[in-house]
């Protein structure tokens, strides 16, 4: 089963590699990616992922992506009912 993860992120050095590397390292295939522009400081990324290693859950993967610095929004499968926005870590600090 594949899942779409919708991510909004700050434009930071290495940010795409950081996310894609994490997804593969944490036991998922990447079946598709789509990038879109969200202005000068942000961009959007849709990644379609599929579990590779048994015992890995999409929920944990989402949390692992979300704890990266510079992720401002993360919706797992926005087509589904489970979508929940994540708080920007920079805001959480204030």
């Amino acid at each position: 089963m594949s899942h779409l993860i919708h991510i909004e992120l700050d434009r930071l050095e290495g940010s795409l590699l950081r996310i894609l590397g994490l997804i593969e390292r944490r036991g998922f295939h990447i079946d598709g990616i789509e990038l879109f522009d969200l202005g000068e400081t942000k961009r959007g990324l849709n990644v379609t992922v599929r579990v590779r290693d048994a015992g890995r859950t999409l929920e944990t993967l989402n949390l692992q992506i979300d704890r990266l610095y510079g992720i401002t929004r993360l919706d797992a499968d926005p087509r589904g009912a489970t979508a929940k926005p994540a708080k920007a870590k920079q805001e959480a600090r204030a």
Partner: protein, 561 residues
């Protein structure tokens, strides 16, 4: 020349403004502007003799002091030499900022001399990293780097600074300050749910990891244990959070844990997991781990909750705030507690090993008792590391510095050096093995240069003992590349580095040698010759359940060691 500061000067002034006192590092071409600004700045720089030493020293400085460790290195080989240390800090969640020089921006991407993509190489082992493109941003980036390193679940942060960026002068009024950070309070409903589960449990058990001391919550934990009377098992990193001598402390769980701890986990009906992450060395076969237990999992990192074991109650937030708020009405658990204590007594370690050779577990126990409240150990990796964890008493937290998640041989000596600089009032002892010691042996030169009175206990079994033990037990005694019987004379080597050094080979020499070591005011190495056939017991075979421990014991009178 203008009076405007260069990027390099901003690096130094920002580090000072952020309260950094000590930096571990090694210079080179791409980082020369920063070393130029460092000279005469008042910032203490410790010149190690290998960049890996700088990273390990900064890591241990952080663990020992609770402050963020700082290391720096030049581009290319300097930066890659840091990598093992960065991974080590990442695996054990240690706050560290690593500054690397990079080739000039015009050379980046051209295979310039000493160019490596250190940012790309370390993506998977940092909390975050920057490549600085604008010198004016240096104060803000460094302040943010320090904030990220220590906030939430701590970890290493890398800041890569190209040579031209460091050399450029800029107008900036940006004085760096730490952004305020309020640790997130745990959810009150989750705490209530946890209290309810604890109240219903008949066999509750704390499972404490390194996260508690990293949250500065050791005292809060001790109070919680005292008020609930619930027994406790600890991970490798959690040892000392509750004094190991406490009657409710059942010891370390897992592969080389105590039988009492593993038994308790297997029997418990509730595990209260605090700042721990179900590492495979702790759990053994995961689906046989704590088969009867419900789980309360409390951690600052919500990505850990449910990662490997489903939590019946997950609590996300700061342990220092959350532990005092836990006030469960504990049920009638006396029988369970008595059973745990009886188990601890029955399976206590024996020190009456046959023969006249030095029994390392006994030596380590005595060492920790003699050093008492001031004991702090920086460990290497191998059998000696497991013996330290099993046999040393730790009355304090932040006193057992060990490479846990990463298991990096070579940690011990630079870690001891960093810890001693951070906590000069402690008896800091590096416990190393003959294999591990050789991996960063050059750091004896650093001890000598700064006259750091580190104490070194080198447990020499002329072999890669832990690997030999596995080959003996699990590979049919097919000994492959574990013999180190051609080791150099470590006493001579240490003396060549201007350390004091002496050797013992017999059991009756142990007491006097430890006294001499603890009284030493100079860096001193005690070379301890031990029997290569000695193994670490008990042991859970790889892939087995923690219920299946292998053990060896002598049925002789006790306490004759």
């Amino acid at each position: 020349m203008s009076n405007q500061p260069s990027g390099a000067q901003l690096v130094i002034s920002t580090l000072k403004a952020l309260g950094v006192e000590t930096v571990f590092g090694y210079p080179g071409g791409a980082i020369m502007p920063i070393y130029d600004a460092l000279a005469g700045s008042g910032l203490q720089h410790i010149l190690v003799r290998h960049e890996q030493g700088a990273a390990f020293a900064a890591d241990a400085y952080a663990r020992a002091t609770g402050r963020t460790g700082v290391c720096m290195a030049t581009s290319g080989p300097g930066a890659t030499n840091l990598i093992t240390g960065i991974a080590n800090a990442y695996m054990d969640s240690v706050p560290m900022v690593c500054i690397t020089g990079q080739v000039g921006t015009h050379l980046m991407g051209t295979d310039g001399f000493q160019e490596v993509d250190i940012l790309g190489m370390t993506l998977g082992i940092v909390k975050h990293s920057w490549l600085v493109r604008n010198p004016a941003e240096i104060p803000a980036i460094l302040a943010e780097a320090f904030a990220i390193a220590r906030e939430g679940r701590p970890g290493p942060v890398l800041v890569d600074i190209p040579r031209d960026i460091a050399a450029t002068r800029v107008a900036t009024s940006d004085a760096a300050t730490f952004p305020e950070w309020t640790p997130p309070a745990p959810d009150a409903d989750a705490l209530k749910a946890a209290e309810k589960l604890i109240g219903q449990a008949q066999k509750p058990l704390f499972y404490v990891g390194g996260g508690v001391e990293m949250a500065g919550a050791a005292q809060e934990l001790r109070d919680l244990v005292a008020r609930t009377g619930i027994p406790l098992v600890s991970t490798l990193k959690g040892l000392g959070t509750l004094p190991t001598t406490d009657e409710l402390a059942l010891g370390m769980l897992g592969m080389h844990g105590t039988r009492a701890a593993n038994n308790a986990v297997q029997e418990a009906d509730l595990l209260i997991v605090l700042g721990a992450r179900f590492d495979d060395r702790a759990t053994g076969k995961l689906n046989a781990f704590a088969p009867n237990a419900k789980v309360i999992h409390f951690d600052i990192d919500r990505a850990e909750i449910g990662k490997l074991r489903k939590a019946d109650v997950g609590i996300v937030g700061d342990l220092k705030i959350g532990l005092p708020a836990l006030n469960p009405k504990v049920g009638p658990i006396q029988k369970w507690v008595e059973k745990c204590k009886a188990d601890k007594w029955e399976h206590r370690f024996r020190y009456n090993a046959p023969g006249q050779g030095i029994y390392a577990p006994g030596l380590l126990k005595t060492l920790s008792e003699k050093a008492g409240d001031k004991f702090m150990v920086a460990c290497d990796v191998g059998q000696h590391q497991m013996w330290v964890a099993q046999h040393c008493e730790f009355p304090n937290n932040r006193a057992h510095l060990t490479s846990g998640g990463s298991g990096a041989m070579g940690y011990g000596l630079p870690a001891g050096l960093g810890a001693k600089l951070g906590r000069p009032e402690m008896h800091v002892v590096t416990v190393s093995g003959d294999g591990s010691f050789m991996m960063n042996i050059q750091e004896m030169a650093t001890l000598n240069r700064y006259n750091i009175p580190l104490k070194i206990v080198l447990l020499d079994n002329s072999s890669l003992g832990l690997v030999r033990q596995w080959q003996q037990l699990f590979f049919e005694e097919n000994y492959s590349e574990i013999d180190l019987s051609d080791n150099p004379d470590f006493v001579v080597v240490a003396k060549a580095f201007n350390l004091d050094a002496f050797r013992i080979t017999h059991r009756h020499e142990v007491d006097a040698a430890l006294d001499r070591l603890l009284a030493a005011e100079r860096p001193t190495l005690l070379h301890v010759v031990i029997d290569p056939r000695e193994n670490v017991w008990p042991l859970v075979p790889p892939g087995a359940s923690n219920a299946d421990m292998m053990e060896e014991r002598w049925d002789e009178p006790l306490d004759s060691y």
